[in-house]
Symmetry: C2
C-alpha cells in the first residue's frame, strides 16, 4: 500500500526522530528561535546576495526551500542552511569572469551553480565519497577561510564607506578615485549601521548579562542588531528621500510574493553547464566541509550525532532546491546556526517557523525592503565576516607543525594572490606533497630491551640492553613505495655499523606493505645475504603475514624467520637472555 | 698547489676506488668485456637512434662521451650508459609533435633534450631530491615499461617487415597499405636478422653450455648476434646492390670521424627551450629511475653499494656530455649492462675500452656502416625490447594487491591510449590517490590481553581477556587529516557498543599527529565526555608526547591520563588484574 510505503520512507528521515517526543514546551522554544532567526536571515540573505553580485531577493529566496530540504534530510537539529558568506564570495568569483557573463544572466548562472553543486553532492552521497573532502585538511580550510574572508572585507569596505575605487593602477590613483567618488550619506549610513552592530554585540550582551537577563531573551535582543541597523538606515533614506536627493544606493525593487518554482534556467547550451562545473565543484565541496564542521561543533555541544554521508544528501537536496526556486548555492552558516541555537531552538521545527516568517514578509511587506541602503548591508557582511579572519592561527599552526603551517600560509596567499579556487587547489597539492614527503621518511628506531621486561624501546631515548649478534629495528609505519627506499637505506646503514649477523625487523606498526616495498625488501635480503647477514621479521600483523604468505615472500626470507614476539628472536640469537 | 687539489678531487671520484687494486688479470677481463660490449653497442646505438627518429650516427656518438662521464662519476662498476630503448621512444614521442618540429632540426632538439635532462638531474642532485623519483612506484614503472615497449614493437614491426602502413582509418585500409608497400627484400633481410638473433640467443647458449664452453666466451659468442645479423644483411645489400636495384632501405651516409664537441645547438629561442622542458623532465626522470634500478640489481649481484644521489650527478653529467657531443638523452641500459657484466667486466675500465673500440670504428671504417639495412636494425630493436613487455606482471600484481594492480593497468593503458608522458602522469596520480585512500582507512584494532602476559592483541584474531569498564583501541598508523575522520568514527562506534567508561587509545604505532587530527581528537574527547566516557592514551612515543605537551593537549585530555604501558591502564581500570 502506497501510504504504508510512504510511512516507511518518512520514518527513516532524520526529522521524524525529532518529532517522536515533541511537546508544547519544545514548540514554544522553537517558535521564539524561529522568529529570531528569521529576523537575522532577511537582512543577511540580502547582504550575501549582494556579495555574490546577485539581486537581493535571491538571498531571501535561498533562505526558504533549501532550508526546508535540510530540515527534511539533515541530521543536525540546529544547523541553519541558506546563503553563506564564503559560498557567496565563491559565487561572485565564478560569475565575474567575462566568459561566464557572456553565457547568461548572473541569476541564471547562480541557479546552474546550485544545480550542479547539488548534483555533485548527491552523487558523492550515492557513492559514499564523503571521505574525499577530508583531503581538505584543517590548515587548508583555515587558510582558505581567512583568505576568502579578507577578500570579502576588501570588497565590502568601499560599499560601507560609500566610495567606488574602480580600476586603478597606483595607490595615489586609487585614493583619488576614492575621494572623488565618496558619498558622505552612504558613508554615514554605513558607519551608523556598523556602530549599531558593534554596540549591540559584545557590549550590549555584557550589559544584559549584568542585568541578569535570560540567555534566550539576550540572544533575541542582540541578534536583532542587523534588523535594527537596516531599519535605522531605511528610515533615514525614506524620511529624507536620500536615494533620490543624495544618490544613496538602495536595494531597489523586490518582486512581491514567493519565488516561482521552475526549471526554465535549464534552457541553455551544454557549454554553459560545462563552463560552470569546476566552480560548482569547489563551491559545493567547501559548502559541505563548512556545513559538516559547524554541524559537528553543534552536535558536540548538544551531544548529538552527525551522519556525514546523510549530510551530503541533505546539502545536495538543499542546493537542488535552491536551483529550482531562484536561489544561489547554499551551505550551513555559522552565524545563522548560532543564532538559531542560542535563541533556544530545540528541533528543526524552529527553522520551519523561520521559513514561514520570511515567506510572510515576502508576500506582505516586501515593498518596504526596497529602501534598505546597501551601505547598511555591507556593514552587516563586514561584522559577520571579520571573525573569520584568523591570521593568528597561521602563526600558531606554524609553531605547532611546520608543514601544516606551510600548507595554511600557502593556501591563504594562494587565495589572495591567485584566486579563491586556485588557492584551494594549491593548498591541497601542498598538503599532499608534504604528506608524501613525511611518510617518505618514516620513524624507524633501533630498539633494545628494557632490563627485566619484555618491552623494547628506542636505544636513543631509553636505557636498554642490546646484543652483539642481534640488531632490532622497529619500523613505525606502513611500508610502501613512498618510504621503502628510506627504510632500506636505514637498515643497510645500521647494518654496516655493527657486526650483528642477524637483523630483526619489528613489524608491530606495519599494517600494510605494497608491491614496490616487497620488491625492495627482496633486494635488501639478497644484498644482506652477500654480507652474511640474515634478515628476520617479528610481530608481523595478521593481514601482513597473510599477504607475505600468499606471494611466497617467506621463502625468499629463508634462512630468515618470522618470530611471533620480539622476545622470541632475542631468546634465539642472544644467549644471555636466560640470565635476565 | 693546483696538482694537489686535483688529486684531492680525483681521489673522491668513484672510479678512483676501482683503480686502487687494479692488476693485469682484471685488465684482461675488462679488455675482453669492453670489446664485446662495443660489438653490441654499435648496431644497438644505430638502432635506437633510428627508433628516436634521428640519424644513426647520433646513436653511436651517444655511446662515447656520456659513457666516459658515467665511468668518471657513477657508482656502479658495470652499468653501461648510452642510448636506451625507452628513452629513445620518449625522444621520438617528444620530437614528433608538429610544434617541436617547427622549432628546429630533430638532431638539435635531441641535443636540447639531453642538455635540459642533464641540468634537471644535476639540480636534483644538488638539492638531494633523488627521493622524488620514489613517487614512481614499481607498478607504475612496470606498467610504463610494458606500455612503452609495446609502442616500440608496434613502431618497429613494419620496418622489420618492409611495409609502410602510413595513415589509415580502417583495418582494411591499413592492410591494403601494408600489402601495396611491402618490399619482399626488406622483409627477407628483417626476418633473416630476426632468425639470427633468436637462434643465437637461448638455443645457442644452451648448446654452448652443453659443450662446456666458459661463460665469458659464451657471452662473447651469443652477444655478437646483433653484429652478425647486420653483417649478413650488409653483405647481402652490398653483393646484390639491393639498395639501388630493389629499394632496400639502408642507413646511408655516416660522417667519418669523432663527433664535433660544441654548443652551437644553443643558438635558438627561449621558447624552443621551454617547449622541450616538460619532455626533458619526464625523459630524465625515467632515465634515472631505470638506471638506478639496473645499477641496484647489478650491485646486489656483485655485493656493491650504489649511492643514489651520486647516480643523479653521474647521469646528469652523462646527459650534459651527450648534448655537447651531438648525442641524445642517455640512461643505463639493461641489455648493454648485462653484456658488459656477463662478458666479465670487473671495473669501469671495460667501458673505457668499449668507447675506444667504437671511436676506432668511427675514425676508420665508418663508411662500411652505411650499407647496413634498416630492417636488420629493426629486428635488433624488436628482440631487445620484447622481454620488456610483461603483461603477466599486470595479472600477478593485480592478484597480490588490488590498488597496485589498478595503478599498473591504468599506467599501461594510459601509455598506449593517451601517450607516453601522459601515461606516467596518470599512473603517478592514481598511485597517490590509492595511497591516500588507503591511509584514509587505517588499521585499527580493539585489543585485549593474552592471558598471563603483558601482550595485547586484536580481539578478532586472538583469544584475549577484555574488561567491562575498559576499551583498549590500538591505532596502527600515524594520525593525520587523511584518516582522523575514520578513526574518530571507529572510536565512537565502538564506544556505543560497550558500557566502558574508559577508552584507552594505544599509540604504539603513532609517530606523528597533525593539526587536523589534534582538532578532531579534541572534538572527540568533548563528545565522549558528554556521554560520561573518558579518553586516555597509552604507549605514546617520544616525538608525539613532545608535540602534545607543547600545545597543551594533555590539559584538554583531562581527566584522561597518559599511561606509559597499556598494562598500567589495565591495572588502573580493571581491578581483576591482580588475580592474573
Amino acid at each position: 500500500m502506497p501510504i504504508n510505503k510512504l510511512k516507511q520512507i518518512t520514518s527513516k528521515l532524520p526529522l521524524n526522530k525529532s518529532l517522536v517526543s515533541y511537546d508544547w514546551q519544545t514548540f514554544n522554544s522553537d517558535l521564539f528561535a524561529g522568529i529570531i532567526t528569521a529576523i537575522l536571515l532577511i537582512p543577511q540573505g540580502m547582504a550575501y546576495a549582494l556579495l555574490a553580485g546577485l539581486p537581493v531577493q535571491v538571498g531571501i529566496y535561498t533562505s526558504l526551500l533549501p532550508a526546508l530540504m535540510y530540515v527534511l534530510f539533515g541530521t543536525s537539529r540546529v544547523l541553519s542552511v541558506g546563503p553563506v558568506s564564503i559560498a557567496a564570495i565563491m559565487v561572485a568569483s565564478a560569475l565575474s569572469s567575462p566568459e561566464i557573463k557572456a553565457l547568461g544572466s548572473s541569476t541564471q548562472n547562480a541557479m546552474i551553480l546550485a544545480l550542479e553543486g547539488g548534483l555533485i553532492l548527491t552523487i558523492m552521497s550515492a557513492f559514499r565519497m564523503g571521505s574525499l573532502v577530508h583531503f581538505i585538511s584543517q590548515p587548508v580550510l583555515s587558510g582558505f577561510t581567512s583568505g576568502a574572508a579578507l577578500i570579502i572585507l576588501f570588497s565590502q569596505f568601499p560599499n560601507m564607506m560609500g566610495i567606488k575605487i574602480g580600476s586603478c593602477t597606483s595607490i595615489t590613483e586609487c585614493l583619488n578615485n576614492a575621494q572623488s567618488s565618496l558619498n558622505i550619506f552612504d558613508m554615514g549610513i554605513g558607519l551608523l549601521a556598523l556602530a549599531t552592530l558593534l554596540l549591540m554585540g559584545a557590549p550590549l550582551s555584557k550589559l544584559l548579562v549584568n542585568l541578569g537577563t535570560q540567555q534566550t531573551i539576550r540572544t533575541g535582543i542582540t541578534k536583532s542588531a542587523p534588523l535594527l541597523s537596516v531599519i535605522i538606515g531605511t528610515i533615514l533614506v525614506t524620511a529624507y528621500s536620500l536615494d533620490t536627493t543624495h544618490s544613496v544606493e538602495i536595494v531597489g525593487h523586490i518582486p512581491q510574493g514567493l519565488p516561482a518554482i521552475g526549471v526554465g534556467f535549464l534552457s541553455t547550451s551544454y557549454d554553459h553547464f560545462l563552463a560552470l562545473l569546476p566552480s560548482a565543484f569547489f563551491i559545493s565541496l567547501i559548502a559541505y566541509v563548512e556545513s559538516v564542521a559547524i554541524a559537528k561543533v553543534m552536535a558536540s555541544i548538544r551531544s548529538e550525532k552527525i551522519d556525514t554521508n546523510q549530510e551530503l544528501t541533505a546539502l545536495g537536496a538543499s542546493n537542488l532546491a535552491a536551483s529550482i526556486s531562484g536561489g544561489m548555492p547554499v551551505a550551513g552558516g555559522f552565524s545563522r546556526t548560532m543564532v538559531n541555537y542560542s535563541a533556544g531552538a530545540q528541533t528543526q521545527i524552529a527553522m520551519l517557523i523561520a521559513v514561514a516568517v520570511i515567506s510572510l514578509v515576502l508576500v506582505s511587506i516586501s515593498q518596504s525592503l526596497q529602501s534598505i541602503p546597501k551601505a547598511a548591508l555591507a556593514s552587516i557582511i563586514i561584522v559577520a565576516v571579520y571573525p573569520l579572519v584568523k591570521l593568528g592561527s597561521v602563526v600558531n599552526v606554524w609553531k605547532q607543525d611546520r608543514s601544516d603551517g606551510i600548507s595554511q600560509l600557502i593556501t591563504l596567499l594562494g587565495v589572495l594572490i591567485l584566486g579563491i579556487e586556485e588557492g584551494i587547489i594549491l593548498g591541497v597539492i601542498v598538503t599532499i606533497f608534504c604528506y608524501l614527503r613525511r611518510t617518505g621518511k618514516p620513524h624507524i628506531a633501533v630498539v633494545g630491551r628494557i632490563h627485566d621486561t619484555e618491552h623494547y624501546r628506542n636505544i636513543r631515548r631509553h636505557k636498554v640492553e642490546t646484543w652483539d649478534n642481534l640488531l632490532l629495528i622497529r619500523i613505525d609505519e606502513n611500508i610502501t613505495f613512498a618510504n621503502i627506499n628510506f627504510i632500506s637505506e636505514f637498515i643497510e646503514a645500521e647494518s654496516r655499523e655493527t657486526d650483528a649477523k642477524n637483523i630483526v625487523l619489528i613489524f608491530s606498526s606495519v599494517s600494510y606493505i605494497d608491491t614496490t616495498a616487497i620488491l625492495y625488501l627482496k633486494e635488501l635480503i639478497n644484498s644482506l645475504k652477500h654480507k652474511g647477514v640474515v634478515l628476520h621479521l617479528a610481530e608481523v600483523k595478521g593481514p601482513v603475514i597473510d599477504k607475505l604468505e600468499k606471494i611466497d615472500f617467506l621463502k625468499d626470507l629463508l634462512p630468515g624467520q618470522v618470530f611471533f614476539q620480539t622476545t622470541d628472536a632475542v631468546k634465539c640469537f642472544a644467549p644471555n637472555i636466560n640470565e635476565a
